[in-house]
């Protein structure tokens, strides 16, 4: 079964708006939570990642919020741009190399 549950499946946001994608996990051994961005016809690329010792990490317009007690983490895309239109995957790993991926969220930014 899927170890990381991601929602929503898709979202549409206006240019300049905020996109929010949520992920939840059950395995308390997970200690690494990356987000990947995938454009059509391309492989996923690491966007930003967080470890449980911090509750938030920001890189440019992208922010991860992490809630350890709730076993949830989310990606916020601020000031969304048409170039951000892509599929986003959350993932999690527990002390080794295996990544468990969410099902993905297709983000469409309307100009």
């Amino acid at each position: 079964q899927q170890q990381v549950k991601q929602s929503p499946q898709s979202l549409i946001v206006q240019k300049g708006g905020i996109s929010i994608i949520n992920c939840a996990y059950e395995n308390t051994a997970f200690d690494y939570f990356p987000w990947y961005q995938q454009f059509p016809g391309k492989g996923p690329a690491l966007l930003i990642a967080i470890r449980p010792d911090v509750s938030e990490k920001k890189e440019g317009r992208f922010t991860i919020s992490f809630n350890k007690s709730a076993k949830q983490f989310s990606l916020h895309i601020m000031d969304s741009q048409p170039g951000d239109s892509a599929t986003y995957f959350c993932a999690a790993s527990g002390g080794d190399y295996k990544l468990s991926f969410g099902a993905g969220t297709t983000v469409t930014v309307r100009a």
């Binding site: 200690d31 016809g41 391309k42 492989g43 996923p44 993932a91 080794d96 190399y97 295996k98 990544l99």
Partner: protein, 115 residues
């Protein structure tokens, strides 16, 4: 090459045939991963190679799937007696070493269609 390359980019095969998918990792990367991406689903781990260690095959869905990595570089994923449920995008990734301290770089994938 600058990144991970995979070939072919697309493969259409008839049910029951065998297929081979190739991955060329980034030069110097000792860790190599194969994933499967089915429509509307996330990436599913298949197999992991690290240096000369025995590969982790725990994600292979059946004994029809196998993979090898020759000379610590190029890897081939083989699917025997393909079934329609094998239709998916097969992604390869490599990293400098194993573990989450090292970013996985993905290739563009091979789209496999079994008719």
């Amino acid at each position: 090459g600058a990144g991970v390359s995979q070939s072919p980019s697309n493969k259409v095969t008839e049910k029951g045939k065998d297929v081979e998918l190739r991955c060329d990792p980034i030069s110097g990367h000792t860790a190599l991963y194969w994933y499967r991406q089915s429509l509307g689903q996330g990436l599913e781990f298949l197999i992991y190679f690290q240096g000369n260690s025995a590969p982790d095959k725990s994600g292979l869905p059946s004994d029809r799937f196998s993979a090898e990595r020759t000379g610590g570089s190029v890897s081939t994923l083989t699917i025997q007696r393909t079934q329609q449920e094998d239709s998916a995008v097969y992604l390869c990734a490599s990293s400098l070493a194993g573990g989450t301290s090292y970013e996985q770089y993905f290739g563009p994938g091979t789209r496999l269609t079994v008719t």
